[in-house]
Structure formats: C-alpha cells, structure tokens
C-alpha cells in the first residue's frame, strides 16, 4: 500500500465515519463537532486529489466560516443546555434503510462506468507542470482565460472562462448579505417592551 493510498483510506474512513456520526448524534453541538471532522477530512481528501486551493478554501470558508455560523445558530436558538430534539428510532431506521438502498443504486451504477481516461493531462500539471498546483490556472480561469484548453476535439479553443460567475456571485453575496442582515437585526421601530423576547 503506497503512502497516498494509506492516507486516502484514513481520511476517507474518517469522513464517512463522522458523516454517519452526524446522523446518529442526538445533540446539535455534537452534530456540529462531527460535521467539522467530516468536512475537515474532506479537505484532506481534496489535498490528496491535487486540489490544494479547493482544500484550503474548504477549510477557510466551510469549516472556519459556514460551520462557525451554524454553531452560532445552535447557541442562539438553544432553549436549554444541550437541547435535544430527538428523532424516533423507527423513523431513523426507515430512513437509514432507504438511504442504504439509494447508496447501493448510486454506487452500483457509478462503479460500472468505464471512465474514459482524460485526453489531456488532468488538472494537476496544466500550465506550470507542478503537481497539485492549480493556483495559477484557477486564477486565470476566474479572469476568463484558459491557457490549457482547446485540446479536446469539439472543444472551443478559447475554453470556458469563469469571469461572469465570479463577478455575478459578488452581486449575489451582496444581496444575500442585505437580506440576512435585515432578517437578523431587530426592527428599527420601537417595539413594546413586553413583546421583546
């Protein structure tokens, strides 16, 4: 077993195990804890798949940002210490069985696919030749330039640049920020004291 395969097995097992633990846990904070482990080891899987930038973004934005936000939500909505809103066992079992069935369907169809070997070298060694170094190509694609494309038959020589989504997402984030801050802040008008909770 090579080092990479070993690391992959470790992190994949951690990811799956903590994902299952998220489902099984009863308190929300434990769920959040397992979710952090799961997403963190997913980031490690990204590093292993030569996607350094995505892995780091996953750590920074997902684990360090979104999940902290979720935990904040947990704390602000806890009506008592270690609030438990349990699920009935039967429900979980049924859902688990259906889930297993679906997992089987997905995996059965996916594992049968004869994946085509990439015609071009994969994302690892475009442009710079360094392994796992997708920083420059990623940045260029966000500007709209794709130096490595145009090799596949039927592909545009210019390649798909991602300037538009990159810019439009900022508009989206602005709108979302406005909406979320509107919902989260107190109403500006004076509210009778007895209605404030």
């Amino acid at each position: 077993m090579s080092g990479e395969a070993f690391l992959f097995t470790v992190f994949a097992a951690m990811t799956c195990f903590s994902a299952i633990a998220v489902v099984v846990s009863q308190t929300v904070v434990r769920m959040a804890f397992w979710l952090v482990i799961s997403l963190g080891s997913t980031a490690a899987l990204f590093f292993l798949a030569n996607a350094d930038f995505v892995g780091a973004a996953q750590l920074l934005i997902y684990v360090g940002g979104t999940l902290v936000l979720l935990v904040f939500g947990v704390m602000l909505t806890a009506s008592g210490p270690y609030m438990k809103i349990g699920t009935s066992t039967g429900e979980t079992v049924v859902a688990g069985l259906i889930g297993l069935l679906f997992l089987f369907v997905v995996f059965a169809s996916v594992s049968g696919v004869n994946w085509r070997q990439p015609v071009t070298a994969s994302a690892d060694n475009v442009a710079t030749g360094a392994v796992g170094n997708t920083l420059r190509p990623l940045g260029l694609s966000f500007l709209g330039a794709r130096p490595e494309s145009g090799v596949l038959p039927g592909e545009d020589a210019a390649g798909t640049g991602y300037l538009l989504p990159f810019e439009i997402v900022s508009v989206h984030l602005l709108v979302v920020l406005v909406g979320a801050s509107y919902l989260a802040r107190a109403k500006r008008r004076a509210v009778p004291v007895n209605q404030v909770v």
Binding site: V28, V54, G73, L138
Partner: protein, 102 residues
C-alpha cells in the same frame, strides 16, 4: 492509480446519503441545515475527483469553489431565518411549525 476514482465517488455517495438521511430525520432546523451541508459536500467530493481523473479537468475544481461560496451564502440566510423563527416561536423544532396547514 493509488486511490482510484470509484473510491472517491463512494465517499461522495456516503456523504450524500448521510446528508439526505439527516435532512429527513432531524427535527431541529439547524440539524437539517447540517444535512444540507453534507449533501453539498458529497457533490464537491465528486467534482474534485472528476477534476483529477476525467476530462472535466479544471472545471470541476472551479465548480466546487463556487459551491463552497454559494453554500456559505445559503447558510447565512438560512440561519437568519432560523433565528427569526426562534424569536417568534421560542423553539427550533421543525415539527412545531404547524400553523400553516390545509
């Protein structure tokens, strides 16, 4: 290849299924949102794996980056709404959301 594509896809599928089960069974609103995060992450694992092993190339990585950003935005709004719900109902139990029926 050391860890081949199918292994990555299996991890992605497990994350996806766990997320769906989580969404279906949890009654805590924030717990449901955690399920959504798992589902999105399952998709992300797929994208990154495809970007390494198939013709999808860099597009897969770009896709997963956008997913991360969009998920952050979605979580922000979802939490604001959950907080608002809590302020009005003093609970976050989704099953108590039963005023609207018919």
């Amino acid at each position: 290849m050391a860890a081949d594509l199918n292994a990555y896809l299996l991890v992605g599928a497990v994350l996806f299924v766990c997320g769906v089960v989580c969404m279906a069974t949890k009654r805590n609103g924030i717990g449901v949102l955690m399920g959504v995060e798992l589902v999105l992450n399952g998709a992300n694992v797929n994208f990154v794996a495809f970007s390494r092993y198939t013709d999808l190339g860099l597009d897969g990585q770009v896709f997963s980056l956008f997913v991360i950003v969009l998920a952050a935005a979605e979580a922000a709004v979802a939490l604001a709404i959950a907080l608002n719900f809590y302020n009005n109902h003093l609970t976050i139990d989704v099953d108590r959301a039963n005023k609207l029926k018919g």
